[in-house]
Amino acid sequence: MQEFLEMGGYGAYVWPSYGITALVMVILLIASVRSLSSTEATHKRLQTELGLDKEQKQETENSNGDEA
């Protein structure tokens, strides 16, 4: 185990490479997912406020749902 962590004396370069890669990728993923959830929550709230809940079904059938 000790030998594995030492990486032939290059542990100080190998592990930080994997560490920063994992860190950056996890942070980007979490930030993206959170941003999606909060935007979806805002969208739902606005729809309720405007009383548009029922229109949602029509929207999926409408080919230009986004511009409607």
């Binding site: 594995f4 990486m7 032939g8 004396g9 290059y10 542990g11 370069y13 190998v14 930080p16 490479s17 994997y18 920063i20 890669t21 950056v24 990728m25 980007l28 993923l29 993206s32 997912v33 941003s35 999606l36 935007t39 979806e40 805002t42 969208h43 606005l46 729809q47 406020e49 405007l50 009383g51 548009l52 929207e59 999926t60 409408n62 080919s63 230009n64 749902g65 986004d66 511009e67």
Partner: protein, 240 residues
């Protein structure tokens, strides 16, 4: 093609394939990391530092792949005004920037023990740094206009002009003297690398690609929902 142009249909397809993308990505990372650490041998010249390759090279490949996607999506958005192309381009930029940043940092961590320096201003490293600046410029330009359409257009043009950097990166190790080693995987004579190293490298590369698609789907869904929110806000401002 236009079947996929419809954002509503895209959202449905995205929701359906996302669990598969996540599953495949996680499995590829599991297998790829296992092979990187346990089945692949140390290099006869570079020793254990060769394991940095399994994150460094996929990150660099994806940094370039994302930029190519960004440029193609920008062209489609400029020429055909495809409603999803702009969304896809915008959703790609942060991931591409992250991969390019990681290729520079892991390259630095590999260069120190092998070349004796964290950084040299050589063609490969410099052109990769320019790629990072292109991503940052693209993202900054997008937010620099009050008119979203103008920001999208300006950044799309920047993305296209910057694409000239891609062949420079690819051939930088051939055209100029470089500390960086030449191509070993994508060569005219096929890969010049032993299978025990090539397999973990390719599997990690596909894991990175799966991760990119995962984040892309999430970010595109976010962007499309944000567009809907903007429309609803306008409706609200006009009294419903």
């Amino acid at each position: 093609m236009h079947r996929f142009a419809n954002p509503t249909r895209f959202l449905r397809i995205a929701a359906a394939i996302q669990p598969w993308v996540i599953g495949i990505t996680v499995i590829l990372f599991g297998v790829g990391l296992y092979m990187s650490f346990f089945t692949s041998p140390p290099d006869y010249q570079q020793g254990e530092t060769v394991r940095i390759m399994y994150v460094h090279v996929p990150a660099a490949w994806m940094g370039m792949f994302c930029y190519a996607s960004l440029a193609i999506a920008s062209a489609v958005s400029l020429i055909w005004k495809h409603p999803l192309a702009d969304v896809a381009a915008k959703a790609t930029a942060p991931t591409g920037a992250a991969f390019t940043f990681l290729s520079l940092v892991t390259g630095s961590l590999w260069g120190k023990p092998m070349w004796g320096t964290w950084w040299v201003w050589d063609a490969r490293l410099t052109s990769m740094l320019i790629l990072l600046f292109l991503y940052l410029g693209y993202m900054a330009l997008q937010g620099a206009f009050d008119d979203r359409a103008r920001g999208a257009k300006a950044s799309a043009i920047l993305a296209l002009v910057g694409a000239v950097n891609l062949p420079i990166i690819k051939f930088s190790v051939t055209w100029w003297n470089s500390l960086h080693q030449g191509a070993t995987v994508v060569t005219m004579d096929g890969p010049k690398m032993d299978a025990s190293m090539l397999w973990p490298l390719l599997i990690m590369a596909f894991a990175f690609k799966g991760y990119y698609i995962w984040v892309l789907l999430v970010r595109m869904r976010q962007e499309l929902t944000a567009n809907k929110v903007r429309i609803l806000r306008l409706k609200q401002a006009h009294g419903g």
